[in-house]
């Protein structure tokens, strides 16, 4: 950011802080709004949307599977963006964002895999097929599982945020290449024919499309709430840590050296 004029940098940091505090302030509202839309979504899924003719009930898994997959991919894009911003600006907030987004993304990747398998069992007759999308999602799950393990196993005294940011960037850059290679791997082989769900929107009746869109937005709200809440908790935990060190030192009569942020 150093190439920007000073006044611009000040403007950016003010907006940055304002936006963060605004999000923290409206957090409970987002949470309750998410609960409301979630209840509405499940009302639509259970009582309103018609049963699909061919698949019957298992098709309803679609309304939680697709939004989970969307959030999984979106949160890893978020990890990438936060990692780039962290390496660039070195502000603790971006590191916390990356870590929390990875955690929530891992949760939703797991849900994508689990709901996909539970859909595959009645429709394909098997929990798993080595379809390109399934394989990519599984590899994604391993990449971000590794990312979280790396953060958990950091050696004390090492700034793990910086290392994790590098891994987050490399992992994200690798995902399209992995997907391409896996697609080639599958299509160059004679594969058993599997029934693959139609594109959402192509041939999908209006009622199902509406349900899917409502579901997508309510999931996104849940994601936003989770993320803000987690980031706020991590920030608070760090601040409390700092307060404790200061208290410990001053109570022992040691003067606190250096600047207290």
């Amino acid at each position: 950011m150093n190439w920007l004029p000073r006044s611009w940098r000040q403007l950016w940091s003010t907006l940055d802080g304002r936006l963060y505090h605004f999000l923290i302030d409206v957090r409970p509202w987002i949470g309750w709004f998410a609960v409301g839309t979630m209840v509405f979504t499940f009302g639509l899924v259970f009582w309103w949307v018609p049963l699909e003719d061919v698949q019957g009930y298992p098709q309803k898994i679609f309304y939680i599977h697709v939004p989970s997959a969307w959030l999984a991919y979106a949160s890893f894009a978020f990890v990438f963006a936060a990692s780039v911003l962290y390496l660039w600006q070195r502000s603790r907030l971006w590191d916390i964002f990356a870590r929390c987004a990875a955690e929530i993304g891992f949760l939703f990747t797991t849900l994508t895999l689990v709901t996909g398998m539970l859909w595959g069992r009645p429709i394909w007759g098997a929990f798993w097929t080595w379809d390109a999308r399934l394989t990519t999602t599984l590899i994604l799950w391993f990449i971000y599982g590794g990312y979280l393990l790396l953060r958990a196993f950091a050696r004390p005294g090492v700034d793990v945020g910086r290392i994790a940011a590098a891994v987050g960037i490399i992992g994200f850059l690798d995902v399209p290449i992995i997907h391409m290679s896996v697609v080639w791997w599958r299509t160059l082989h004679p594969t058993p024919v599997v029934m693959i769900m139609d594109d959402p929107g192509g041939g999908l009746p209006a009622s199902m499309l509406v349900t899917l869109l409502v579901s997508l937005s309510s999931f996104t709200l849940v994601f936003v709430y989770f993320l803000i809440q987690r980031v706020w908790q991590e920030r608070t935990a760090e601040n409390l840590e700092l307060l404790e060190t200061i208290l410990d030192r001053t109570e022992r009569g040691v003067k606190v050296k250096g600047e207290v942020p």
Partner: protein, 50 residues
């Protein structure tokens, strides 16, 4: 029907599990904050008397 219910149960379990984790973490933070605030107050009170 059963698979579909399984999927929804798994989904709700994961979501509530995560929420439970969030709130227990929050409770821990609140406890810690209260404890530290107590120490802070005790310290400034002590200073006032001296």
């Amino acid at each position: 029907m059963t698979w579909y219910l399984f999927a929804y149960v798994a989904f709700w379990a994961a979501l509530f599990g995560y929420l439970l984790g969030l709130s227990s973490r929050q409770a821990r933070l609140n406890r810690r904050a209260a404890e530290l605030t107590g120490r802070l107050i005790a310290r400034s009170a002590g200073k006032g008397e001296a």
